[in-house]
């Protein structure tokens, strides 16, 4: 076992972990933050996407020890003071989800897309979401959700 200290959604968390413990299992099993999902075992689906020091990463492909001393934001950390993040609002407003399983990872990735490019074209949004699979929506409303969020974030 080894000790890790990871800032998760603004709270410092110190735990003893197995060196092989995946970051996603640290979040889900050790901390009980079950909003981050596991959809595959080959890092294709993106359901496990979280922000690691601001970068969107697949938490199924990192060990918890690799996040030691760093900061992680999960879907649970997006809403502030009971107010949804504009990206969350976009997904709700534009029906960007059906079963909701890919949604946390999708929202996290979409946030990063807008931080890199606040006013993306549809093609840029679609390219940006290549690492996240959705089986329900056909992506049409996810694209609209991201556009909605982009427009709202530009106004603020």
């Amino acid at each position: 076992m080894t000790s890790v200290t990871i800032d998760v959604n603004g709270t410092s968390q110190t735990r003893q972990v197995e060196p092989r413990l995946l970051l996603v299992h640290f979040l889900r099993e050790t901390l009980g933050l079950t909003g981050t999902h596991v959809g595959c075992d080959t890092s294709q689906c993106g359901a496990c996407t979280v922000r690691l020091d601001g970068a969107a990463v697949k938490s199924c492909s990192l060990f918890a020890v690799q996040a030691d001393g760093r900061s992680v934001t999960t879907i649970e950390g997006l809403a502030k003071d009971g107010k949804l993040h504009p990206m969350q609002e976009g997904f709700w407003e534009k029906h960007g989800l059906q079963c909701g399983f890919c949604t946390p990872g999708m929202i996290i990735s979409a946030c990063e897309i807008l931080e890199r490019n606040p006013n993306p074209t549809e093609a840029e949004i679609r390219q940006g979401l290549e690492g996240n699979l959705c089986r329900c929506t056909g992506y049409a409303n996810i694209v609209k959700a991201v556009q909605h969020a982009a427009s709202n974030m530009a106004e603020r």
Binding site: G39, D41, L78, W92, Q98, C99, C134, C136, T137, G138
Partner: protein, 785 residues
């Protein structure tokens, strides 16, 4: 409909979403219980092998391992075969044990299960279980499996055939072919697909040794069906002691209908150990063990007269069932397939023969559309091939053969009676969106420049809400196909609706509340929808075959009428009026002509529970249960148009445009329906262009992960242009048809027709899907043009 109607037809934002967009949804793998142990399955790496022995001693010695069970342990513990829910005449039903005993029959067949204190230890220990396999000859192709000398899977089916089934008038069909001016023939392969709901299957069983009660959280589309089948057939435990909870479920597409080995094994293990046991599939397990879809090989022949009227259709399909019969496997390539072969056309004679064969592959069962996409593909491809053969525009040939709007109800030659339709109206609307004439001119122009655009049509008809139960039973269903709904009015006038339908993305918590709120004239906030828990919902058949709207919501509607009827009795008594003079509107029971003499819904609800002043003989309480068993299927229809461009140099097919005009009857929530249609279209497009399950000659699943099975990504597709016509169905009181599968049913054929249209200049008549660049490039190259 009530005059107070206001939510029905509105794009209300979903009530499910606040929890799902904040990470507060609860899926099976999110449920945590103290003392939980974790299961990992040992699976056969061989597609076919004798099991000469299993040595689990090394696994048992690993610290943290609680138990290792084999198929023999389960059999000794009373575990029986998984059941089959649809029986055809003379069907062969070899047993399907949750853990294979003596022989593994497909790659991934579970042979043992390890239970440990942590999932990591369980996985480590599973690798330590030593199985002595003796590989046996393998057959993966269904046609090959039925031929002499093929390896045999089951003693019960020595020719690997589970069933031979036919439908339609053979003599009439043969006669029509003899008199035909033109006959078009083609061999059509509808290849195998892997469902890939993004949430892997999972099960958590918690048995209480003191009470004998078991709670099973499981990713199921039909929790009551799971409970009944597991209790009565597999585990032999009292049904009332098993509670099945299907919480938030991350997509199903059919793959979560069936009772699988894993939930049976963990439930048995939890009873045996007296501790909770959890299993969550890894994606590689989803690929290997979630029931696959499609896998038909078909010889189709269409007979036409000189004017292009279809005279007859003859279809012979050999369908791959996989290694075992999955729960509804027999119904999918038969009654859900053969009955749709008339399509939208007046074809007077149809005959279909289906042979269902066992092979050393993952079991095949219902996958989004289930039999209907296969039927649509046969019909719509054959119509296009006929149009080409006759030199008639494919739109014109369709129009010439459409069932007319004045011909409903329409009895097809393949058993079903279409309830309603106006096929030309949907086609016209779609053509208008496309601007067909302009498209053809543009296509010609671009061809001169070496660019190859194609347009494909699919003027589909599909069937949802399989019914009625009596007919389904006569055809072999081992279940009723009604749906139940309980409406419980609380003393404060708040309402809980318990539905037997199950939402795994469809948004019932919103749409069913819209229906209930409208009928009761109450705000949606006063209505709660409960589903997915056998401990709360009295009974249910679940969600598949696009049945939640036409059957499930209709059952809710029935119970609401009963609530209003009883409410009227109470209100009439309180208002000292005749029951016939009481009207209910806007949440108030009032006396006809005296709107100021009223009792609110809440007043009446309170009195129903106080029971201080009720009509003589009326029971207290305000609650109703209904079982809606529709008189028929409903038949959504429409026209889908795909526009593609084929790149000559690479063979790459690009989806350029997609237009869908669907008639789904009345629509409860257009936003939700459009969302399902968009998603369904992409799933069907993906079959035509990318997705394909491939086994090698040894039965190894080559496309066994998301790295080599081409699921559609955001960048691969376009947003479809959607429109609707609205022909309400008379089959249910809401006038709604199903909406969940139309996209998938229609789109595969539309894209295939578009690709072949684009390839017309190369003289390519037909290619089997998926139209991968290599295949298309090779076909262009071979054409020599």
């Amino acid at each position: 409909m009530a005059a107070t109607e206001r939510l029905f037809g509105s794009s209300i934002k979903r009530r499910e979403d606040p929890r799902l967009i904040t990470g507060k949804g609860v899926y099976v793998d999110d449920v945590k219980l103290p003392g939980t142990t974790y299961a990992s399955f040992v699976r056969s790496p061989h597609a076919h092998a004798r099991i000469n022995g299993i040595d689990s001693s090394a696994a048992r010695k690993l610290p943290g391992v609680v138990a290792v069970y084999t198929g023999k342990d389960l059999s000794a513990g009373g575990v029986k075969s998984l059941p089959v829910g649809w029986l055809l005449p003379n069907i062969k039903l070899p047993p399907h044990l949750p853990l294979a005993v003596d022989r593994a029959r497909y790659m991934g067949d579970a042979v043992a299960v390890v239970i440990a204190e942590s999932p990591y230890v369980a996985r480590d220990a599973a690798d330590l279980v030593e199985v002595d396999y003796e590989p046996l000859p393998v057959v993966t192709d269904a046609v090959r499996a039925t031929q002499a000398g093929a390896p045999k899977l089951h003693d019960e089916a020595p020719d690997n055939v589970s069933f031979r089934w036919s439908l339609g008038d053979k003599d009439k069909t043969d006669a029509a072919f003899r008199g035909a001016a033109r006959v078009v023939k083609e061999h059509l392969v509808n290849h195998r697909l892997i469902p890939n709901a993004i949430e892997p299957r999972a099960a958590l069983a918690s048995a209480n040794p003191a009470t004998g009660e078991i709670i099973l959280w499981v990713t199921t589309q039909n929790p009551h069906v799971h409970r009944l089948l597991m209790a009565a057939f597999v585990l032999g435990i009292p049904e009332h002691k098993l509670r099945v909870i299907s919480p938030d479920v991350g997509g199903g597409f059919g793959s979560k209908i069936f009772v699988y080995p894993e939930e049976c094994a963990v439930t048995w293990a939890s009873r045996t150990l007296g501790r909770p046991v959890k299993w969550t599939a890894e994606r590689r397990e989803s690929f290997m063990t979630d029931a696959h879809g499609r896998d038909h090989q078909t010889d189709a022949e269409m007979a036409l007269d000189a004017d292009g009227h279809i005279l007859a259709l003859r279809v012979k399909s050999t369908v791959n069932l996989g290694a075992y019969l999955s729960l509804f496997a027999p119904s999918v390539p038969t009654y859900l397939y053969g009955t749709l072969l008339a399509g939208a056309y007046t074809t007077p004679a149809i005959h279909v023969e289906v042979t269902g064969a066992f092979t050393n592959t993952t079991p095949v069962d219902a996958y989004r559309g289930a039999g209907r996409p296969e039927a649509c593909y046969v019909v719509e491809r054959m119509v296009d091939l006929a149009a080409k053969e006759l030199g008639v525009d494919p739109v014109e040939l369709r129009r010439r053969n459409f069932i007319g709007p004045d011909q409903f109800p329409y009895q097809t030659p393949v058993a079903v009676m279409y309830d309603s339709g106006n096929y030309a109206a949907a086609l016209d609307k779609a053509l208008e969106i496309l601007n067909y004439g302009a498209f053809r001119r543009e296509q010609d122009k671009l061809r001169q420049q070496g660019r190859y655009l194609g347009v494909g049509f699919s003027t589909y008809v599909e069937a949802c809400g399989l019914a009625p139960s009596q007919v389904a039973g006569a055809l072999g269903a081992q279940a009723g196909l009604y749906e139940s709904a309980t409406v419980r009015v609380h003393p404060t006038g708040k309402v809980t609706v318990f539905t037997g339908s199950h939402s795994h993305g469809q948004g019932h918590e919103t749409t069913f509340a819209q229906v209930a709120a409208d009928e009761l004239g109450l705000p949606m906030e006063d209505i709660e929808i409960v589903h997915g828990d056998t401990g709360q919902v009295p009974f249910g058949m679940g969600t598949y075959g696009s049945r939640s709207g036409p059957v499930g919501a209709a059952a809710v509607h029935m119970s609401l009428q009963k609530i209003k009827d009883k409410g009227k009795k109470i209100a009439a008594h309180l208002l000292e009026a005749s029951e016939n003079d009481v009207v209910y509107e806007g949440g108030k029971f009032s006396v006809k002509g005296s709107p100021n003499r009223f009792k609110t819904f809440g007043d009446v609800a309170l009195m129903a529970y106080l029971a201080h002043n009720l009509p003589k003989g009326l029971e207290p309480g305000l609650e109703a249960i209904s079982f809606f068993d529709p008189g028929n299927f409903v038949f959504p229809f429409g026209t889908h148009i795909a526009v593609v461009e084929v790149e000559r140099e690479t063979g790459k097919v690009k989806l350029v445009r997609y237009i869908a005009v669907d008639d789904l009857g009345r629509v409860i929530n257009p936003m939700i329906v459009d969302g399902m249609v968009q998603g369904g279209i992409v799933q069907g497009v993906a079959q035509a262009l990318w997705e394909e399950a491939i086994y090698d000659e040894n039965g190894q699943l080559v496309t066994g992960s998301m790295m080599n099975y081409a699921l559609p990504k955001a960048d691969d597709v376009v947003t479809a242009e959607l429109a609707r016509t609205e022909t309400p169905t008379p089959v249910n009181p809401l006038g709604v048809k199903g909406a969940g599968e139309t996209g998938t049913i229609a789109s595969t054929a539309a894209v295939a027709n578009a690709v072949l249209d684009a390839l017309g200049p190369f003289g390519i008549k037909h290619l089997d899907m998926p139209f991968t660049p290599g295949k298309v490039w090779e076909a262009i190259r071979s054409s020599g043009r």
